[in-house]
């Protein structure tokens, strides 16, 4: 038994611009793949620097995605489900890292968490020094990726509405229970795609990282930094490394997509 609303529901002509859009994205990817020097590829990709960079990227992106979820979910819920004066200004401000050129974001982070930044001394007293550490990479990635999660989750929360939350409350569930058992499961697709966006953004992050965290192999030099550096001497190597990033991304997005379809 199949429902329709699949083929039946979509106007045919829509497939034309959809295909054009897909081609616009896919052709450059194809062009890159065609450009890769496959003989040199294995050596390039398995070099120590590349492996360090890839592992660091995966570790930091995962950490910052987690941080994004921990901070971003509450932010999205607060934005979508409460009302307070100045809310739309706050929303706009919170989304700012979206537009801030990443390098400027890095400068801002330096001014804030750097040794001489707003909080630098406070942090130093506590014994925390983030400068040139992996923690700084995670912070930079979180800073740029957080708004992605917040925006997509807030949209999902608004689309889902809060009728089910109301029902749950009337059944005696405390707000925390409602949040855990109703709100979160209901917006799971939105949370998933938001997390994918955040992970992707963190994985590709360059400007804020180099500005705030620096670039030292194994500590702060993530894959994008490695790619940029390689590019100075060997554009083909950079392209080959990019391909690695692409494959990682396809795996991540594909997995998340699976999860979404299963629901």
């Amino acid at each position: 038994m199949r429902r329709t609303g699949s083929e039946g529901g979509v106007p045919r002509w829509i497939l034309l611009p959809a295909a054009a859009g897909a081609a616009f994205v896919l052709l450059p990817l194809l062009a890159i793949v065609l450009q890769v020097d496959w003989r040199a590829f294995p050596a390039l990709v398995t070099s120590e620097a590349s492996r360090d960079a890839l592992l660091l990227s995966l570790r930091t992106s995962t950490a910052s995605t987690l941080l994004c979820v921990l901070l971003g979910v509450p932010m999205a819920v607060a934005l979508a489900r409460t009302r307070f004066p100045g809310q739309s200004l706050l929303r706009a401000l919170v989304l700012l890292p979206l537009v801030l050129p990443p390098v400027v974001g890095g400068i801002a982070l330096l001014y804030t968490f750097g040794r001489r930044g707003l909080l630098g001394e406070t942090l130093e007293v506590v014994g925390l020094e983030v400068a040139f550490s992996t923690a700084a990479v995670v912070m930079a990635q979180t800073f740029v990726a957080l708004p992605f999660l917040v925006v997509s989750l807030e949209g999902a929360l608004r689309t889902a509405g809060h009728r089910y939350e109301v029902v749950a409350a009337s059944l005696g569930a405390r707000p925390t229970t409602v949040f855990r058992r109703v709100t979160l499961p209901l917006v799971l697709p939105g949370l998933l795609s938001g997390s994918v966006l955040a992970f992707a953004r963190a994985l590709g992050e360059f400007g804020a990282t180099i500005t705030f965290a620096g670039s030292l192999q194994g500590t702060t030099r993530t894959l994008p930094l490695e790619i940029y550096l390689r590019r100075e001497t060997d554009a083909d190597a950079a392209v080959a490394l990019s391909l690695v990033l692409v494959v990682v991304a396809v795996v991540v997005i594909g997995t998340a997509g699976q999860g979404r379809v299963r629901r």
Partner: protein, 352 residues
């Protein structure tokens, strides 16, 4: 456990006051849009009235400020009031069993206890075999039954039921009604329904709403046998005419005069009065009847429908039940002009 509600929601044209005594079941009757669901929403704390007060025993639940009162508001989950809304709204991400387990679990019951409660309530409403389905895979009536089980499993102090049986089939309705009777017996409840049988069987008292106002309330049997409002009469299947009591008769607005047996106490002269009579007491004529003086009303047929072994003729003034033969002889069809006559002995008149 006395429940009291006073609420003004001008946006919806609602301004009413309700009271549910301990252990009492009150039926809320009224036309579509009268404000029944709104009243339940205010009771459950899902809607804050502009002005009003909701209290369970001495415990204030919703108090809007002003008039020397301190504003206060207990959130829905802390009220111990469960609402079965008009729309089942089963949680789409949980299966049927988990939906019913939701309230016990939320209230701290253990896994086993919650499962046991879910099993029991699902069996009660006759859908135990659907426990593993997702809500999206249920029929309309099945979903409503699950929603009912879910609300019952919440085991609240006050139960709010909004048309709990609207989508149920005739085969299961009596059984579910029986279940509700047991469930509601020891519990305070507010029940919205469009079915007179629900009111009769489940409610101790009925409150009739029209246009957001309470137009009538009282013990079920009294309201349904001696309705004062048009809607109560309609739901009780009785005819009602309102007018002024003058010279031992009811003078209606349209000039017709109704003679009837006045109740004890009789209405005072010049006061508003209602005349109530059953459709079975109405005779239908195409031409003016002779004989003993009766109340005669000029009316137009609006609908004709079977009613048990008789035919119910609805007209612009009152309904009449006639035999199929009579209906055939009169050759009635919607739009036909008829005269309705009722013997004075069949009409009860009492103050409005």
């Amino acid at each position: 456990m006395t429940f009291e509600l006073e609420a003004e929601v001008p946006e919806r044209g609602v301004e009413l006051a309700l009271r549910v005594a301990p252990g009492e079941t009150v039926a809320l009757l009224g036309p579509n849009g009268a404000g029944k669901s709104t009243a339940l929403a205010v009771a459950a704390g899902l809607l804050r009235p502009d002005r009003g007060r909701v209290a369970l025993d001495a415990r204030p639940l919703t108090v809007t400020g002003g008039g020397g009162q301190r504003a206060s508001y207990v959130p829905p989950h802390a009220r111990r009031i469960a609402l079965l809304a008009q729309d089942p709204l089963l949680f789409p991400h949980l299966d049927v069993r988990a939906n019913v387990e939701f309230a016990p679990r939320a209230q701290g019951a253990g896994r086993a206890a919650a499962r046991e409660a879910a099993e029991r309530w699902l069996t009660t409403v006759g859908v135990a075999d659907l426990a593993d389905r997702r809500p999206g895979e249920l029929s309309g009536g099945q979903a409503q039954r699950v929603a009912l089980a879910r609300a019952l499993a919440a085991d609240p102090l006050l139960l709010l039921l909004d048309e709990p049986m609207a989508a149920l089939d005739v085969a299961v309705t009596p059984a579910v009604r029986q279940v509700l009777r047991t469930v509601l017996a020891g519990r305070s409840a507010l029940l919205v329904t469009h079915d007179v049988l629900d009111a009769l069987l489940l409610a101790d008292r009925v409150v009739v709403l029209e246009d957001g106002r309470v137009v009538e309330e009282g013990p079920t049997s009294e309201v349904l046998s001696r309705p004062r409002s048009a809607f109560a009469a309609r739901i009780a299947g009785l005819n009602i005419l309102t007018g002024t009591w003058r010279g031992g008769r009811v003078h209606c607005e349209d000039g017709s005069v109704v003679a009837g047996m006045s109740s004890d106490p009789a209405p005072s002269d010049g006061a508003r009065a209602v005349a109530v009579f059953s459709p079975g007491a109405v005779s239908v004529y195409r031409d003016a009847p002779g004989g003993s003086p009766r109340t005669v009303l000029r009316a137009q047929v609006t609908e004709i429908e079977p009613h048990g072994d008789r035919i119910r003729i609805r007209t612009t003034r009152a309904a009449a039940d006639v035999t199929p033969q009579a209906a055939a002889e009169l050759d009635l069809a919607p739009g036909a002009e008829v005269l309705l006559s009722v013997k004075a002995t069949e009409i009860t008149v009492y103050p409005a």
